[in-house]
């Protein structure tokens, strides 16, 4: 396998982008990435697009061809492929692009993620639940939030995690997003505001839940040799790993552990030849605050059950020992389903290059963790300068 480098990144704004169509959003991220890489369109050899549910959000399938077309690449006839794994679609697209370059098949490949959700209004939350087991979870009245709520209650009972700990994760991510010009919610919140917001699914409240957002992110990957021609600051992907688990939460081994994350992380650390303590910065899938807390444990940053200690002690704050979600995460930067896994990789690239401006942390090695639904799919990627 060849070494793979990130040579360009771009992202749209995240949020309720009423004035922009799906095509507009993708293009704004794509142009930013291509300019960042200093590429010409004809140098792109293949594209992988993470998109969760174009069919239900837009009644538009065939997303990969559409994006290649509106990126001005139709007459180049390059292969363009959509990849789907619920809200892990972006992470999967990144992995496919990585494999295409690492294998020697292509030298320059685009990984993109995009979702336009606000056209369907309130239905967006229900569509997002199609990442669960529709027949045996959703049919019975279960929502995505209620499954994470069930997990949160178990974690509280078993390990003494408090609602305040979860609220602190939300407060941190909102604070970070203030420094991210692309973020959906650029305002700080207090812990009291978080703890007095209405319940969505007890014990989770509005401020425990990420929004459903519009947005897109694009990343350009190249082989090590080719990368040197385009950039003086290549960021290398030192490992990419993916795992699955039972789709329904009720079938899993342990409800307060995302085994797919544990397996993907273990494999990624092994491939990169590092340990969890070597990670300097991470972007993790905080679709709900409890998911970020589980990520601390399942990625091996702290032992099982002690996730709350990292937020209580400020370890994962922007100025902490291991900043998590410097972008503001899914909670405050926004969660544009299929775009999320790529957006996380964009943030880690900016951090490792030293281009994250007001939210810059000191880091040489970074990690992204992207899951689908309640964790039936997990993708862990490790980056280094």
């Amino acid at each position: 396998m060849r070494k793979v480098a990130v040579i360009g990144v771009g992202q749209s704004k995240f949020g309720e982008l009423w004035d922009y169509s799906f095509r507009d959003i993708v293009l704004s991220a794509g142009i930013e990435a291509i300019e960042d890489a200093g590429l010409e369109g004809r140098e792109i050899e293949a594209m992988y697009i993470g998109n969760m549910s174009g069919g239900r959000f837009l009644a538009q399938e065939h997303i990969a061809a559409l994006i290649a077309d509106y990126s001005g690449l139709a007459e180049l006839h390059i292969p363009s492929t959509r990849v789907e794994g619920a809200d892990a679609s972006g992470g999967l697209a990144l992995r496919q692009a990585y494999l295409a370059v690492a294998s020697g098949l292509h030298d320059i490949v685009i990984a993109a993620g995009a979702e336009k959700v606000t056209d369907v209004g309130e239905k967006a939350v229900e569509i997002l639940s199609s990442g669960l087991d529709r027949e045996w979870e959703v049919f019975n009245g279960v929502t995505l939030a209620s499954l994470f709520a069930i997990i949160a209650r178990l974690h509280m009972d078993k390990y003494g995690t408090r609602a305040e700990d979860l609220a602190m994760i939300s407060v941190k991510n909102h604070k970070n997003a203030v420094r991210n010009p692309k973020a959906q919610f650029k305002r700080e919140i207090s812990i009291d505001v978080a703890l007095s917001s209405p319940y969505v699914a007890e014990p989770l409240r509005v401020f425990d839940c990420a929004p459903v957002s519009d947005g897109a992110a694009v990343i350009v990957l190249a082989s090590e040799e080719v990368a040197r021609k385009y950039t003086d600051t290549p960021i290398y992907i030192s490992a990419s790993a993916q795992a699955t688990d039972y789709i329904a939460l009720s079938s899993r081994r342990d409800f307060t552990t995302m085994d797919a994350v544990v397996f993907a992380a273990r494999e990624a650390y092994k491939k990169a030849g590092i340990e969890p303590k070597d990670i300097d910065v991470a972007e993790v899938h905080d679709s709900f605050t409890i998911a970020e807390l589980l990520a601390y444990e399942d990625l091996g940053f702290v032992e099982k059950g002690k996730g709350a200690e990292l937020i209580r002690e400020g370890v994962t704050e922007l100025d902490g020992e291991l900043p998590v979600n410097p972008s503001g995460g899914l909670k405050a930067c926004g969660h544009a389903a299929g775009a999320t896994g790529i957006r996380q990789a964009v943030e880690i690239t900016l951090q490792l290059r030293g281009e994250a401006k007001g939210r810059q942390v000191d880091a040489e090695t970074g990690l992204t963790m992207n899951i689908g639904g309640t964790g039936a799919t997990a993708v862990v990627t490790i980056f280094r300068r």
Binding site: T143, R153, E202, S251
Partner: protein
Amino acid sequence: MLPRFWRKIKYRYNLIGTKCENCNTYYYPPRNLCPKCRRKSKIVEVKFSGKGEVLSYSVIHEAPENMKDQKPYIVALIKLEEGPIITAQLVCDSSEVKKGMKVKAVFRKCGEEGSAGVIYYCTKFVPENL
């Protein structure tokens, strides 16, 4: 939307799942293949007693469109006495529900589909002493 729900009605309405006779593990929802034994699976259908215990739960305040008239409602992770764990609605007062609570299955209206108002049913749970 409806055919795929009808197809599983027998299992949904009667709490019928499966058992692998090779390893003696019970499954609900039913599985055609035992994840432990795979090709050695010996799957038979079983009807569960419907008795179980609450492992965890959530009171849902933000509900999808077809469930809005029922909110707030409770969903719980319930361990059936035969072993399998399922997620289902729990019909009781939210102040009453607690971890470890004994429950039993009942057959109830689950919701309505579309403007034609087709009613569909599913298995819910109530406190055992009810």
